[in-house]
Assembly symmetry: C2
Homo-oligomer: 234 residues x 2
């Protein structure tokens, strides 16, 4: 399955500005992207990066799940097999760019197209497998706060609309074209990493590159309030 | 399966004080409890309420999933079958009370004991079914922020510790007694309704009594910021 992974190079993760500097946010976003690409590949998908501008470094998805390494740490050249990921640059807004890609691909039951956000650093092959294997014209993994974190489209008439409560919009759009819908109930896929509190989820549940990056940056759990949050020791 | 549902009558849902008055929070908490009891029963469990003090009204779980009604709205006497739910009053802290109940029940593989929090208003028979059916000595549904929202225990040596990042503590406790662990990845079970932003999840995904209660109270979705939140029109 072709799986689009949209990635914005324009001030990524700005809502993490109270914890990470601009260059750190860029590096952290890249480490999450690497985790997502790896999970998509390990779930049997073929990731296709949809980026708003050329990335300065070629994207490789380390397919060795048992040897995560920090983005800025050592990455031995002989450590593991890597897979080149095709890249399409489209500077238009997310909705326009994804719909253009759906236009190009014309998804069907035989050739579905996935859309998985680049900040789902808790995605695992198992959770993505539940999404990829869901038997419906449109399978949706809702994000916390009404977003749409991951999709599989098997109907060429379906179009996305990522503005606002996109999960509800996508249910409505599917209904309008008479497409069947499966909703994938997953905390991992519901956790797009946007805000400070989301970092706690990574530190609690993650074991990939982005989690290692956070630990390396001194970000740790802080259990002084009701829900566990994060603190930074430097 | 015996399923303990702990419920605190002492200032329930105080973190919702910016949206709901004290008496409203009490009524809302009761409507969430009703949803949880119904979901447990519909998932094949036998709920047992573990409350900090006597409740003024007897607890009944409406087992008719297709006729939710607001807690303060009309409830026709002939609407649906109801099930009386046994109640144990234990004023001690949550961890102590649950461990005392586990002591009494001595959970085993043949007679497991569940613990499901009373504010999991998005729990459905399907998601609870995944938890109840998980093949492990301890099955855990983690909550957002490191909590433990639901558990199934099949090992009499297991004890809970709800303080702090209890999910991580429960993994450690299970490891110490050599108990196998299954983690249930569910956004619905990860969503304990404690804070304002959690209400948005109910309005987006819920269809039970608590969601109807919120709508009736004028709480609605507010999509003006990044993630969809809630607003109140009166």
């Amino acid at each position: 399955m072709e799986v689009l992974v949209p990635f914005s190079t324009d001030r990524p993760k700005s809502r993490l500005s109270d914890v990470l500097s601009p260059s750190e946010r860029e590096s952290f976003a890249r480490s999450m992207l690497a985790d997502v690409l790896r999970a998509v590949i390990d779930a049997g998908g073929s990731p296709h990066l949809l980026t708003t501008a050329d990335l300065d470094v070629p994207i490789e998805a380390d397919t060795s799940a048992d040897s995560p390494h920090p983005a800025d740490g050592p990455n031995p050249a002989d450590a593991s097999p890597s897979a080149d990921v095709p890249v399409t640059v489209d500077a238009r807004p997310l909705t326009t760019a994804v719909n253009a890609a759906l236009d190009r691909h014309e998804p069907t039951g035989a050739e579905p197209v996935g859309v998985v956000m680049a900040d789902l650093a808790l995605a695992t092959p198992e959770t993505l497998g539940r999404l990829f294997g869901a038997d419906a014209d449109v399978a949706i993994a809702p994000g916390r706060g009404g977003g749409t974190n991951a999709l599989v489209v098997r109907d060429p008439a379906f179009r996305v609309d990522y503005h606002g409560a996109s999960y509800l919009d996508h249910l409505r759009i599917a209904e309008e074209i008479d497409a069947s819908v499966a909703v994938v109930d997953s905390h991992r896929l519901a956790t797009d990493v946007d805000e400070r509190s989301d970092l706690a989820e990574l530190l609690i549940h993650g074991d990939g590159e982005a989690t290692a990056w956070l630990r390396d940056a001194g970000v740790g759990l802080d259990a002084t309030n009701g829900r566990v949050g994060v603190d930074r020791d430097r």
